[in-house]
Symmetry: C2
Subunit: 445 residues, 2 copies
């Protein structure tokens, strides 16, 4: 029996608008997955906006929305710790489920807010509060639920990572990159929260709590920013095979102060945010720009890493709406958690055809073996060009055997059937002495 | 009200034993998270084993276990498509929830099995079937539920990736590495499933189905292995800035054959497994050895990547037990999905102390500025040695300013308070002309 789930979005900044856009783009997909309709009934905004569907009620009285009968789930994306806190508490007391991206509020007042939610038997979901679109909250709470987390670390502030990446890649100074980050909108006019590590500390407090089963303790996070990092140290670190990243660490410590201890009695937890040298060949060292990544070391799983966009309208909206999808099951499923076996409702599976090989589209690496005849490259490139195949790169190697020249060609994406025809023609050339070797190529962009 | 959830483990090979080990190691953690006890009541095994807790009933009649009143959840880890299928169907018909790691069975018979499960209102959970301990099923079904997946690709066969990594790193031939993989137990005596891409195709069929909402269609996956990859092509690819990886691709195609089309009408899906050149600087190109990783490109989230162990007892047991934890909620929670806010039951949060900064343990990068005096390095290393601090590397740079020599020292992990004392002593040396710069260091191993 299909229901209509009623959402209110509080705040129409970047994230709120991202949620509206997501629903516009993907509503049919959401229905196919959940089996239910999703309707935004109200938005909380100080200024009336003309570009919003007139069926959505716009109002500035957030407390009225938080207690409205016309709302099942409140999405709080206004930020800050004053109004947001009041509204969330009011919504909880009125039996509404809440979805929030507000890391600062939860890191500093989460114990109180979650207690209240438990008392009122509602959920406060917060996937978007840490690492944006990377589902690290779900991973730690659910996917790794059978593991004992030993430690986790991560790049959980995109601005800081952008600055460190640019300093390393381009030899720029901290001040220079910060000014650009501010111009690009990656960093606030007052960049303190990002560059002093406070934003990362908020997120780390949340991650540590769900990894170890401890209350939120933001005030105990040791916090050091990136303002003191010089280009000189970035360069020396690279020379020694390391890279400086601004990381948050949550570490279980066994048996007090002895780092060599093999006993498994947990005696303390380290919570710290600071610049850190890590080996260049680790994946985490190669997470660049504004991207985020979290590395979790747990028993018995070992190391797993989660990478993606840590901020931005689309990534944050993705996390917010994933929480909404979970809450839809809370609101509609009577016997426990029920995700469809194949993710979509069984009667909603589509019959989109699987394409046969000859209709597939990919780039290609081709290796030809040619006798060293002038003109063979001209013949080959003409055949490719006639077939509508664009060449991206050519590498002609010195002859291995007498008179046998390997020619390597990289192509842009092409339909496989066209490539088949072209390869047949190339193989028919007198100067080509063996079958063309072909391996597919993908730029992953 | 705490319950006791009764599991049966069918099969005591690597994975089944891994599940037993996990429960032995982490049961208290699982109880803290779920609020319920977990008991293995029966194991299905052909040979009686002496090393199993005598309270667990060992028996070879799997069908009897599948219908036993003493079992809530059946964990099928025997593999294969004959007995495993019969037992799973029998369990479903007897109202048992099932957890399985059986990718081949689900890829080839999943449509039928999931239909039957829906009819009998039970769940068949299969996180462990794809990419081992990487929670890619949960990510696609739940965390990315609000996204439209455009394409996904991944390294989803560890054996194949081990072979490709060794060929590239060490210039070894395919045959040579395969022989070693067999000796190490990474590859079967008959390596066909791995090296011909069939195992990857099974997993890809599952991923594509939950990404796009299509029935399982293993028989339509285009499948090419790595047996034809030569060292020559590996080398040429590297020279051109690419790396050859054995990847599975699931791609939504818009508007037929025109790759340039910007229209969003889906007209087909590509399912293919084959060696692929990808740019060296992508994270996926740097996933080495037996590791797995899946890269998902979805709207509006963008690219996210999930990395970890794709096989092995610990990783697979982690995924199996994550499914069990989800099913515990199905069995115990009356009003929808209920993960505790902070992952653990509110009355189970621990009061493990957060350690103060001076008790933290990390490696260090130290940069000293010294006058070019013989003996300063001896003084510094003696101070560190006296403080019990082990030096991992030293880099002495040429003087920048007249007589000013930068000395960089990397240390092994040390307690911060000891480092503080040592640094004070170093700064007191006459030859040291400015404050010691210190940045923490972590090997991430």
């Amino acid at each position: 029996m299909s229901k209509s789930i009623k959402l209110a979005i509080l705040g129409l900044g970047t994230v709120g608008t991202g949620v509206l856009d997501l629903l516009q783009d993907n509503l049919s997909e959401l229905k196919r997955r959940s089996g239910h309709d999703i309707v935004i009934t109200q938005v909380g905004t100080r200024r009336q906006r003309d570009d919003i569907d007139p069926s959505i009620k716009q109002q500035s009285d957030l407390m009225a929305i938080a207690q409205s009968d016309d709302v099942d789930i409140i999405v709080e994306v206004i930020g800050g710790q004053t109004v947001a806190k009041e509204v969330i508490i009011h919504a909880i007391k009125n039996g509404k489920h809440v979805v929030t991206a507000n890391k600062a509020l939860l890191a500093e007042h989460g114990n109180e807010i979650f207690d209240l939610a438990d008392k009122h038997n509602v959920h406060v979901a917060y996937e978007a509060a840490v690492a944006g679109g990377i589902p690290i909250i779900k991973v730690l709470r659910e996917a790794l639920a059978a593991n004992k987390v030993d430690w986790l670390t991560g790049i959980i502030n995109g601005t800081g990572n952008f600055i460190m990446s640019e300093m390393r890649d381009k030899g720029r100074t901290f001040e220079d990159v910060l000014a650009e980050a501010q111009a690009l909108g990656y960093a606030e006019a007052d960049p303190t929260f990002d560059v002093e590590g406070i934003d990362a500390a908020h997120k780390l407090a949340l991650l540590a709590s769900i990894a170890f089963g401890i209350p939120l303790q933001f005030d105990k996070v040791y916090c050091e920013g990136i303002t003191a990092i010089t280009l000189q140290d970035v360069t020396y670190a690279e020379e020694l095979g390391y890279r400086i990243k601004h990381l948050g660490f949550a570490v279980r410590r066994y048996d007090g102060q002895d780092p060599q201890s093999v006993s498994k009695k947990v005696t303390g937890i380290e919570l710290r945010v600071h610049p850190t040298l890590i080996p260049q060949d680790k994946l985490l060292a190669n997470v660049n720009g504004v991207k985020n990544a979290v590395l979790v070391n747990s028993h018995p799983l070992g190391q797993t890493l989660y990478y993606g966009d840590g901020a931005g309208a689309g990534a944050t909206a993705s996390a917010v709406m994933a929480d909404v999808m979970d809450l839809i099951r809370v609101l509609t499923v009577k016997n426990g958690h029920h995700v469809p076996h194949l993710a979509f409702m069984p009667n909603q599976l589509s019959d989109t055809p699987i394409l046969p090989a000859e209709q597939m589209v990919t780039g290609y690496y081709l290796r030809l073996q040619a006798t060293d005849t002038p003109g063979v490259l001209a013949d080959v490139t003409r055949i490719l060009s006639d077939a509508g195949i664009n060449i991206d790169a050519i590498l002609q190697k010195p002859a291995h055997q007498k008179g046998q020249v390997p020619i390597i060609i990289l192509t842009l994406p092409v339909i496989e059937s066209q490539m088949n025809v072209a390869i047949k023609k190339i193989e028919a050339l007198q100067a080509i002495t063996s079958d063309v070797v072909r391996i597919r190529l993908n730029e992953l962009d």
